[in-house]
């Protein structure tokens, strides 16, 4: 059994949030006052009672359907209004809504498309302001600062979560109790339950897009990351969850945890590849698949680890030569780190309308996050060099090594400190995704006695359990 599975076998403990969540529901109504999202929703409640059912079916279908690539701003505004009235109807009718949901995957598709449109709208708006070329569109965007506002989007997601009492249900399941007892009038219906559940995944994504990586991980407190989780039943949701969790870990410099997340889903995908081909989400998944391999390549370069065999060979196939350059480190690898990061990171957004009057003030959020990440890469650029040399010795004089490397001894001391610091990492053991223990993540350790470097290597003992279990399975 792999580390991964052992870790997953632990029950998810440390849950204090169910009481808090209860309070949240009560708080909710009071908070409606400051949430401009609600007034947004109210604006579009003009649906007549009679035509509602037919309209509704159309709205349901539309909510899960991607917009055309070349959709105009008017279409985007209209789509936003459509979502508002749909969610308003679902959330604010008298009692739960009786709805025939078009399909099982509908709930995920709606939340996914809702967030995708939010993401692409924000990016489009930012681009219009940056280029300053389309005055007409800029004017239209300027006049509608609240369309696709971050407060309205978050409000929809949080409201769906609270209405369905999904966090209470998940917490109960984790404790081994019956979730239905905590579901309430709304949460016992599949429509609300599924919308609520996928809204949690949606929040993970939105927080990550906004650059709030710790809150993104915190959002999943009640969800257990394993194959039994509800998200695993919808392939795209399964995939999305692991991508954003892995990415958030990576931005918190928990590369070990990031690799664990990416590997988990990539192994799963490689096993199920055959029966997904032809599915309409296949292209999207194939693209995310490649992105995650790129991210694993980055993580492994920053934090050398033994990978799962399947992942390792796929990685060599896709990024073989690049991986070697990344692992080699040094200034030459910088452009490659940046290129891979840009190709594989989420499409970060800025939540507020840009400054249309000063195009130069609007920086692409992707540039912002890339620069922050690259600073850490620059700071740790010489770790591979240090490691490759120290592996060869048990003791070494600092000045002599500095001579080999052609650097000042002072600089080498800094490199040694940096490498030592980075070999300590927080790693998840149990509890919420943000929990973890500080572990030594490197098999190479050293200490300095003035200018004398004492090197020691931790060797992994033979792994017998795995061998034993495999043979047991074969014999019986």
């Amino acid at each position: 059994m792999s580390y991964d599975e052992r870790v997953n076998a632990h029950p998810n403990l440390g849950d204090e949030s169910d009481v808090e969540e209860e309070a949240l529901v009560n708080d909710y109504r009071e908070q409606v006052n400051f949430d401009d999202g609600m007034s947004e929703l109210d604006r579009t409640t003009s649906l007549g009672g009679a035509s509602q059912t037919q309209d509704l079916q159309a709205q349901l279908a539309a909510a899960a359907t991607p917009l055309e690539y070349q959709a105009t701003l008017e279409t985007k505004f209209a789509s936003y209004d459509n979502y508002c009235s749909l969610f308003h109807y679902i959330l604010n009718s008298d009692g739960p809504v009786e709805l025939e949901v078009p399909s099982y995957y509908w709930a995920w598709d709606v939340i996914d498309e809702f967030i995708y449109q939010f993401e692409s709208f924000c990016r489009y708006r930012n681009r219009v302001a940056r280029s300053g070329s389309n005055e007409e569109e800029a004017q239209l965007l300027r006049e509608n600062p609240n369309t696709w506002g971050c407060y309205s989007v978050l409000n929809v997601l949080y409201s769906l979560i609270q209405k369905s009492q999904i966090n209470e249900q998940l917490a109960a399941m984790k404790r081994g109790e019956d979730a239905a007892a905590f579901a309430g009038e709304y949460g016992s219906r599949p429509l609300y339950k599924m919308l609520g559940y996928f809204s949690i995944i949606g929040l993970l994504r939105v927080h990550c897009l906004l650059g709030d990586f710790s809150l993104a991980l915190k959002t999943l407190d009640d969800i257990e990351m394993n194959k039994k989780a509800m998200f695993a039943r919808v392939m795209a949701a399964h995939f999305t969850t692991y991508y954003y969790v892995g990415f958030s870990y990576m931005m918190m410099r928990r590369y070990g945890d990031a690799i664990r997340m990416f590997s988990h889903i990539l192994v799963y995908v490689s096993r199920t590849k055959n029966f997904q081909k032809g599915g309409n989400s296949y292209d999207a998944i194939a693209k995310k698949n490649d992105q995650m391999y790129a991210l694993i390549a980055i993580c492994v370069a920053l934090h050398p680890t033994r990978l799962d065999d399947t992942i390792h060979s796929a990685l060599r196939e896709k990024y073989g030569e690049q991986l070697i350059r990344l692992q080699h480190g040094g200034p030459d690898a910088l452009p490659l780190f940046e290129e891979l990061f840009r190709s594989a990171c989420p499409k970060f957004i800025s939540p507020t309308p840009p400054d249309f009057d000063n195009p130069s003030l609007n920086v692409d959020p992707v540039d912002h996050h890339t620069a922050i990440f690259m600073d850490e890469v620059k700071n740790t650029l010489y770790n591979p060099t240090i490691r490759s040399y120290l592996k060869l010795y048990t003791t070494m004089d600092l000045k002599k090594l500095a001579g080999f490397l052609e650097v000042e001894p002072e600089k080498l001391r800094s490199w040694l400190l940096v490498n030592k610091q980075r070999s300590r990492q927080i790693r998840w053991v149990e509890g919420g995704l943000l929990d973890g223990e500080s572990v030594s993540a490197n098999d190479l350790d050293y200490a300095l006695e003035n200018d004398l470097i004492h090197v020691s290597e931790t060797k992994a003992g033979r792994r017998l359990v795995d061998w034993y279990l495999r043979n047991l399975a074969r014999v019986y």
Partner: protein, 251 residues
Amino acid sequence: MGVAFDRCDTRPANIDAILSGLDRYNPETTTVFQDYVVQQCEDRTFDCYANLALLKLYQFNPHLLQPETVTNVLVKALTVFPSPAFSLCLALLPAYTKPFPSSEADAQSAQTSDFVESVQKLAHLSSLLESAQYAQFWATLNSDDLYADLVADVAGFEELVRIRIAVEVGKAFREINAEVLEQWLDVRNRESLEKFVTEVCSWEVDKSGAKGTVIRVPTNKENEARSEVKSERVDIDMFGRVIRRGFEQVA
């Protein structure tokens, strides 16, 4: 020893309540968080998760942003290096702050405001600390009065950084030359250095050696660098399937 990013021992109950509820998005709580930052600056505590919530409120409501509070949050984050705290804070700042300008021209061209300049200066300090260039860190810090203004609100900033550096040194060194340590800690006077290492760090000073004064760090878990053979962890769960199968076949 477990570490949970979202918890903090010194966090008051009212802040905790806001953080775990939807009030963390309520612009009215901005002042509460701002006061909390002031408190952290005064009593030398640090609550990264709460400060990120404040930066998020600024992200959503740019008109509320107080440059001094933001820089104070960043300066506090400097005092906990090496950690991702500083970059996580930067990630929530508006992109126009360009914390790491790609070129000199880039830094100067866009009619930089004081706020942008401050963020860039602090980001530079952070890079120096994260890359363990401690001597350059102090040189940079002392090179410009602007830095002194930036760190003025954070009580004991220099001492906090000095202690962090000492902790990192303690993890990597068994013995270190006093001259090197002097530069890293920016203690220019041998007597104060000896006082600092003996009283604050409880290390020993050895003046008998031929190579000048040497500071001895007692052995700890980090600086012993012992070779070991890591054996695998075996627990009963791993055999669950085999045991279950055993029962199935009997039945």
